[in-house]
């Protein structure tokens, strides 16, 4: 199976090339995808780009839906933890 290497919160992660960024984050011990307005941990909910709970920073772009984004080689992902 083809794999892709990316960085999640500075940690190197290798996942199948067909994975989404959301799936890649879920393979790490990252506690959550983002903190809510009141500081609660949140993670992916709808899996299809509707709820925006999985929004993270990807290659410097904030508020990108991880579930809608295919992984890419060398991608830099930061959760809003």
């Amino acid at each position: 199976m083809n794999t892709v290497n990316l960085s999640i919160n500075g940690h190197a992660v290798t996942v199948p090339a067909t994975a989404s960024v959301a799936a890649a984050i879920a393979t790490t011990p990252a506690a959550c995808f983002r903190r809510s307005v009141n500081g609660q941990p949140r993670a992916a909910l709808c899996g299809m780009g509707v709820c925006f709970e999985c929004r993270v920073r990807i290659d410097g772009n904030p508020h990108v839906r991880a579930c809608m984004t295919p992984v890419g080689e060398g991608m830099q992902v930061h959760t809003d933890d």
Partner: protein
């Protein structure tokens, strides 16, 4: 830069794929737009481990084999619309698409109802967790409770098992009597019977509870257990994941932005179409779940009808009307037998968060009778999902009707909006007029 298509199809699920293929078969230059990276929509979502379902592959390949091949526009999120043109955000910036005819095939999303603990990581939609598992989300060895309502629970549970999850049980809120009545009617749709038998075989050793629902989820950093109510009794189930969805709600934001009239299906708007799937706006057609939930077969037939119509082939469209009526009746069956138990609307407590984007609790909404006033005072529905989750839930719960969609249809980067030099975003007021 503006690209022009004779027929533009928004949504690459079963309806959109069928529409694109049908329109292109008459020689029309067709563009097929989807926010996702791959075709298939939700029901035919590509599986990172198990590949694309066979029917989906056939439908996708068919659009390439038409007289004028369909142009596939992946990762195009439509953010604005006005007569004869759309603006989409792509990873490379803004794109303008103009069209002669438009087919709206924007499908549906899951109905997610609030209950204590529903914001914990590890709590997802039922179709939601299925979609995530197909993206490669690790579920192997995880203990999963599947709950909510509708045939999607079975499909989700089967997918999750295929990915190695331990499905502890399926909790369908509809009563056993309603489920039996549903099963007895299924023979009219032989394809559905085959699918139901397959799912039953795949899930033969999974406990299936009727008249049962999850009352709350508990955990600190993530869900660790749920409280399940069955009949008169309540019990705790330890789990790693809770996948809970209460059926589907049509995505009508794009149609609404274009001024298409809506019908109502319970608490939710559906795009109003005539038998040949023309909306109230000239040159705009709609097909599939956006016109009301009726499932895969209806979506495929309606896609073909809308695609033929968009290419001006009325005779080809008319020949499919009988099939359409039959497929649509499945939607009525679903609605009748999976009607939601009103107790589900009373699970959220005073301090339960309703608007997940802005952390607005149910208690904070006390005294408000319309979405707009509540939004202005509490920020409920003001966040990134634009009320798609909380507004839909509140309408279903009978709190207040949904407000119309606001521009941009989905949140967009400022750079995208700036890219879009001309014409400017149509000035439309926040659109909170209730019909």
């Amino acid at each position: 830069m503006t690209e022009h298509y004779d027929v533009l199809v928004v949504g690459a699920g079963p309806a959109g794929l069928a529409a694109a293929q049908a329109a292109a078969s008459h020689g029309a230059r067709v563009g097929l737009v989807d926010a996702q990276a791959r075709q298939g929509g939700q029901v035919w979502r590509h599986d990172a481990v198990h590949g694309t379902p066979r029917a989906a592959s056939r439908a996708i390949n068919a659009s390439v084999g038409t007289r004028v091949p369909v142009t596939w526009l992946a990762r195009h999120q439509v953010i604005a619309a006005q007569s004869q043109r759309l603006c989409a955000e792509t990873p490379l910036g803004a794109v303008e698409l103009s069209f002669g005819r438009l087919v709206i095939a924007t499908g549906a999303r899951e109905l997610l109802l609030p209950f204590p603990g529903w914001t914990l990581p590890g709590v997802t939609g039922a179709g939601g967790l299925q979609a995530l598992a197909k993206q490669g989300w690790p579920v192997r060895g995880k203990r999963v409770v599947v709950a909510g309502s509708g045939p999607l629970l079975w499909a989700a549970a089967a997918s999750l098992r295929r990915h190695g999850a331990r499905v502890l049980g399926i909790h369908e809120q509809a009563s056993a009597a309603a489920m039996r009545a549903f099963a007895l009617q299924l023979w009219r749709w032989p394809g559905r019977v085959a699918q139901a038998l397959q799912l039953r075989a795949a899930l033969h050793d999974v406990a299936h509870h009727c008249g049962s629902f999850v009352r709350r989820a508990d955990g600190d950093a993530a869900v660790t257990s749920v409280q399940v109510t069955s009949g008169g009794t309540s019990m705790r189930v330890d789990c790693d994941l809770l996948a809970v969805g209460h059926g589907l709600v049509p995505n009508v934001a794009l149609a609404g932005m274009l001024g298409c009239a809506m019908d109502r299906d319970g608490a939710h708007p559906v795009v109003q179409v005539d038998e040949l799937l023309r909306t109230s706006v000239a040159n705009i057609h709609a097909a599939g779940e956006s016109c009301g939930i009726a499932g895969l077969s209806a979506a495929r037939i309606e896609g073909r009808i809308a695609g033929h119509m968009a290419a001006g082939a009325t005779a080809a469209a008319t020949s499919l009307l009988r099939q359409r009526r039959h497929a649509r009746r499945f939607g009525e069956l679903l609605e009748r037998h999976f009607a939601l138990d009103p107790r589900l609307y009373a699970l959220a407590e005073h301090d339960t968060i309703i608007c997940r984007c802005e952390d607005v609790t149910l208690g904070a909404l006390d005294g408000y009778t319309d979405a707009r006033t509540a939004r202005l005072a509490t920020r409920c529905g003001m966040g990134a999902c634009q009320g798609r989750v909380c507004g839909t839930a509140l309408a279903q719960m009978g709190r207040f009707p949904r407000s119309d969609c606001r521009l941009p249809i989905f949140p967009a980067r400022l750079a995208t909006l700036a890219d879009r030099a001309s014409p400017p975003l149509p000035s439309r007021d926040s659109g909170d007029n209730h019909p």
